[in-house]
Symmetry: C2
Subunit: 419 residues, 2 copies
Amino acid sequence: MAEELQKWVLMVTAQTPTNIAVIKYWGKRDETLILPVNDSISVTLDPEHLCTTTTVSVSPAFDQDRMWLNGKEISLSGGRFQSCLREIRSRATDVHDKEKGIKITKKDWEKLNVHIASYNNFPTAAGLASSAAGFACLVFALAKLMNAKEDHSQLSAIARRGSGSACRSLYGGFVKWIMGKDEKGTDSLAVQLADEKHWDELVIVIAVVSSQQKETSSTTGMRDTVETSLLLQHRAKEVVPKRILKMEEAIKNRDFASFAQLACTDSNQFHAVCLDTCPPIFYMNDTSHRIISLVEKWNRAAGTPQVAYTFDAGPNAVLIARNRETAALLVQKLLFCFPPKSDADLNSFVLGDKSILKDAGVESLEAIENLPTPPEIKDPSQRHRGDVSYFICTRPGRGPVVLSDESQFLLNPETGLPK
Amino acid sequence: MAEELQKWVLMVTAQTPTNIAVIKYWGKRDETLILPVNDSISVTLDPEHLCTTTTVSVSPAFDQDRMWLNGKEISLSGGRFQSCLREIRSRATDVHDKEKGIKITKKDWEKLNVHIASYNNFPTAAGLASSAAGFACLVFALAKLMNAKEDHSQLSAIARRGSGSACRSLYGGFVKWIMGKDEKGTDSLAVQLADEKHWDELVIVIAVVSSQQKETSSTTGMRDTVETSLLLQHRAKEVVPKRILKMEEAIKNRDFASFAQLACTDSNQFHAVCLDTCPPIFYMNDTSHRIISLVEKWNRAAGTPQVAYTFDAGPNAVLIARNRETAALLVQKLLFCFPPKSDADLNSFVLGDKSILKDAGVESLEAIENLPTPPEIKDPSQRHRGDVSYFICTRPGRGPVVLSDESQFLLNPETGLPK
């Protein structure tokens, strides 16, 4: 790198989805390498509604690695960031940008610093797996910048070092994280079971539940579960392997009844082992319980599952409806039970694919107030106003992509600093 | 029985305690005989504060078996009542009441009808194991009336047919229900581990939690768990047997640290298998969770358990304090977090052994309002007013007794009808 090159800045911007596990990951067999005690399966959510955008840039002018998350500089000193940066750097290859006249050799990457800016198009604190999308995007974007030749599956094993569930965000559609056997974790990676077009009738409604309770972080929680639960090992060794096979079959055959049954029971069992932890971990609250009861009653009355529910390490419900008609019904029932506070704006109460409101015939706050009592609700006076902060309507979506539109870049192409 | 005897009425009144399991019973291996999938251990609660009183009477004038519960006639046609009545009748022996000049032979009992009146000194619907005390009292009183020679342990196997946990109410103190091996259930019965004087420092505070949710009955709930939970068998076969041995040791040695650790983790595991049931069963609510968090934080800060918690098939917390000083502190903390509604009367908000209020320095509603923020509570504005309906302060107590004071009889000695 000659002196005259000091001024160049090279950058890549990528967009990566978040994902929701339908067979849960809970418990590590290796804390540092982030190796899980069982396989897991997830659905990738449409990045149009929930995603992370990350711009990574390199310049000889950068004197250290720096990162900004949602506009605020954060430390990269954590072991997880360092693992991802180190692993990607070691896989960097020669880069030749003819247009800009930049040449970077494999060896140069060891000395070059990067700037990273990352942005979530959804509230970070809402417990919507922002770290999954975030680390997947970081690794994917850096791999593109550094011309790493690894495929998505190999990159997933690196993203895994940032956040376990991040590995599943390297693909769209339906994804399996294979736990692997290798002590070093080389075979603990994600594979795609089916892309997002395979089963595109599914509609996903997320209820972001209001909560005052401070939650146990999933890292701390799963460590405590591994150390103290007497049920976790039985789950990991005896229960999950069979469920994984069944879930793969259900996805392959678009068998919603089996899919829903497996997703719901596995979500419940994950929360059961949390409760079996010392001290016990409660991620679901009374609102979560009410949503489950609503769905369970509906599914039973219908004779076959209409909606699946799954809950991660927080009270938010992720509801997967078998098709758009069912989703419209689901939205009606949810809005009846959990109407917005009186000062709310419908536009900020239902996010994502708002067209569902038209299908549900609920296009105003008055329409919500006048909804008929769902048959699952015995006491129509029991409307839990404000207990859900907002809903997001989405669907299964695609995997990571590189964005070429400069207006979407998060760093200034000249300075490599946040715009 | 000659014609002139038609007018006599013979009666017995007994009082039987309720009990709280510290190693839980959840799941039957035989629904009809009520045979459990694991042993369980309980603490008998002082009947002064929580008990059932039952008067049973016999007269040749009674034309059918009848029963009144809390003053209201109820049907005896259920299988559980019939099992208990049949089993006790078959063990009846000759009775000779010289004073009244009554002679009943073993054979007469087959034709004689009984009247039964039962009364709980606590709200039946509060989820405080009223059926346990009720069936224990029914069986105990009938055995006395009919001069059955069986000891308490043998009677416990009959009470078990009424309600599984009833068998543990045949003894005071600390009681084990041995699951047994016999297919007919003859060896599934209760034994006393230690009487109530063995460990009389313990103080028990029950928080009766306000709930709008209709609960799953324990009969239905445990059937669903046996049929659908993939964790229950592991719990019953691998986890509980070891815990039973440890809990027996803890009780024997009055080792509160072990006792509390076992009671809390077993309660949590019971609720975990409920959550692992399809559809999932939620007995605890946000208030229950808050009480657990409070106790867990306190215990951790103290370095050794001060209070154990355990929850049955409902949201009520049963809190066992290591001694009276700790109990007074516990009451302070609970009253801070869960003050009564503003229109409440302290006298009906803390029931049972009210002297604890003096020890806690909380003898007025004003004193509750002025309580200092417990160190476990981060946000002192978070006082959950009205979330606990009332508290009952009690202690380990004695087993069944016969009451001789006629004023306590629930049936008129002349007519055999409710007073």
